[in-house]
Symmetry: C2
Subunit: 344 residues, 2 copies
């Protein structure tokens, strides 16, 4: 965030551009660009390309398919790798030491400097709900390890960790993988939660997430899973059918400070919920992500980190895109009841 | 917004629930509910249902397929209908005079009272880009007519007008149609624009949209279409490839006050852009919607109504869902250049 200039100096293949009205940011990443005419290729052409890609899995054979070298690798006692993290070959943000800010007329933008990494488990098919708890704990370990490595970098103010499962949820490669994107700005959705949590605390002298947890634990209307340390429930204002949050029961603002034993417990909760979703809902596509406090050097004592899981039950169409109001066709209480039921 | 009660009295098939952290709203509309096990039916089953629905089009034969009576119908000189508006058979919000507010523990909600209507053009296949300008002007007329009929209803504070084209953009019925949803709350995306426009005005003594229009008209870097009254351009911070806004060149806060001759001009601009998108991009799926000032009785002198068109070029996956930061892989300047080129 060092250099401020009045004009764009060099062409950078990733830019963060600010919406002049709302202040939100978008990433324009032309490094992975297609020609304009390729955006809407014929369906057959797309299917042909996808078939070709299936031939040699990028993640089963990372070296042979030209991935960059691992930044982290976990191996079992026989020396076989079980999990590895490497930089995304087609990153949305690019590593760099200096961020140039620039203007164009009334608009503001900056170079898209950051980190974009992939967290890959070994098995080509098994998704998180099908893994055992220890394997999932290894994934949580890797998230935390990479988070801590990147959080103090000069260009990094927020680290987003997310997982896309299935094509309709945006997973372009079938081999299970999570992603970690470290960005120089605080994203608007996280900001809305940070601000909301602070306002609620000022008005109620209580963390808003702790208030929810206490109510959900007492009523058990929307609880899907619970262990000593974590609660999983369908939120009262679920945006999609079968939305589930996994949250530490004690007040914890920072994901990266999760202790060793807690990590086993969060793995148990995440795996438990994803297994229910896998079995009860016929292996649907889904996204999940972590919302945690920014790593911008400020304190966020009123935030409470958590995981949000969004099964892909519907397309967000004109109404949702226009208003930001989502329409769900099942009550969260009913979603939770259905997921909670004894597994087949 | 009359009744406030401490608990939920009767089961209402549509609810507006508020997110306790962000203040955003979701609609839980169980009237069109499926059983939990139907959310993720096998693909073949879904395709079978879709095929069945294709047999008799709901919109070609509205009476025979059990649609409610029109609230508006336009006919040609021979008496054949060319456009009709009727209430959605599966509404997200339900008509009602009184809105019950209720609480559950820390949470807030209200009955999902509002209006949900469909604007249907006659031709079963021709999308807006393929219609002539006068037919599109008729659509704009219908939007305005219904807007004015609903804007003063007691339960209505915002009216969202949108259009989904193609299955990946959420159109569940192929016959071209737009939707109008009148809701009791101001939606978060519109609120972000209203607030942003007001802040910009206070700081710059100018409408933020007028500032953009003036820059875009001068530079022509991102202009796609222009006539006397309207400008169409790819916004500087486009969220998706080939995003286009259509906006009145003069400062106009309220869509519903669009004059008769202006309506022809907005139809010309909307049709012109959608025709370019249809021809240049191989008939992609898209959403468009109108952002205009709320009809909540307050004045919004700093807002500037416009249409936002979002071609469906990608799935919003974990990163976008988590952060609200969209990733686009083509520069808006390149999108505009490609759309602007002489049509084939």
């Amino acid at each position: 965030m060092e250099t401020k200039s009045k004009e764009k100096k060099t062409k950078y293949p990733s830019e963060l551009r600010q919406d002049l009205v709302t202040g939100d940011w978008v990433v324009i990443a032309t490094g992975r660009s297609k020609r304009p005419e390729d955006f809407f290729a014929e369906r057959e052409e797309i299917e042909r390309i996808e078939k070709d890609e299936d031939k040699k899995c990028f993640f089963c054979f990372p070296e042979e398919t030209g991935q960059e070298k691992d930044v982290l690798i976990y191996a079992n006692s026989e020396g076989d790798w079980s999990l590895r993290v490497f930089p995304n070959k087609y990153p949305a943000l690019l590593r760099g030491k200096k961020i140039n800010h620039w203007e164009e007329g009334p608009y503001f933008a900056m170079d898209g400097v950051g980190y974009h990494e992939l967290v890959v488990t070994r098995d080509h098919e098994k998704s998180i709900g099908q893994l055992d708890v220890l394997a999932v704990a290894e994934i949580i370990d890797a998230y935390q390890d990479r988070y801590i490595s990147l959080m103090n970098k000069k260009s990094v103010n927020y680290i987003d960790i997310f997982h896309n499962h299935g094509k309709s949820a945006g997973a372009s490669i079938v081999h299970p993988h999570s992603q970690l994107v470290a960005i120089p700005v605080i994203s608007p959705y996280v900001k809305a939660e940070l601000d909301g949590a602070e306002i609620y605390y000022r008005q109620n002298k209580q963390c808003v997430y702790c208030a929810m947890i206490s109510w959900e634990k007492e009523k058990k209307l929307r609880v899907v899973f619970e262990n000593d340390e974590y609660l999983a429930f369908c939120p009262f204002s679920s945006r999609v059918a079968f939305e589930v949050w996994v949250i530490p029961k004690k007040h914890k603002p920072y994901f990266e400070r999760t202790g060793k034993e807690e990590k086993i417990k969060v793995a148990e909760a995440l795996q438990g919920v994803l297994e229910k979703i896998y079995k009860r809902l016929n292996n649907p596509d889904y996204n999940f992500y972590i919302h945690t406090s920014p790593c911008d050097g400020k304190d966020y004592p009123h935030f409470h980190w958590h995981i949000e899981i969004l099964p892909k039950t519907s397309v967000w169409a004109g109404f949702e895109l226009s208003t930001g109001v989502e329409i769900s066709t099942i009550e969260p209480e009913e979603s939770a009841r259905y997921l909670r039921e004894k597994m087949l």
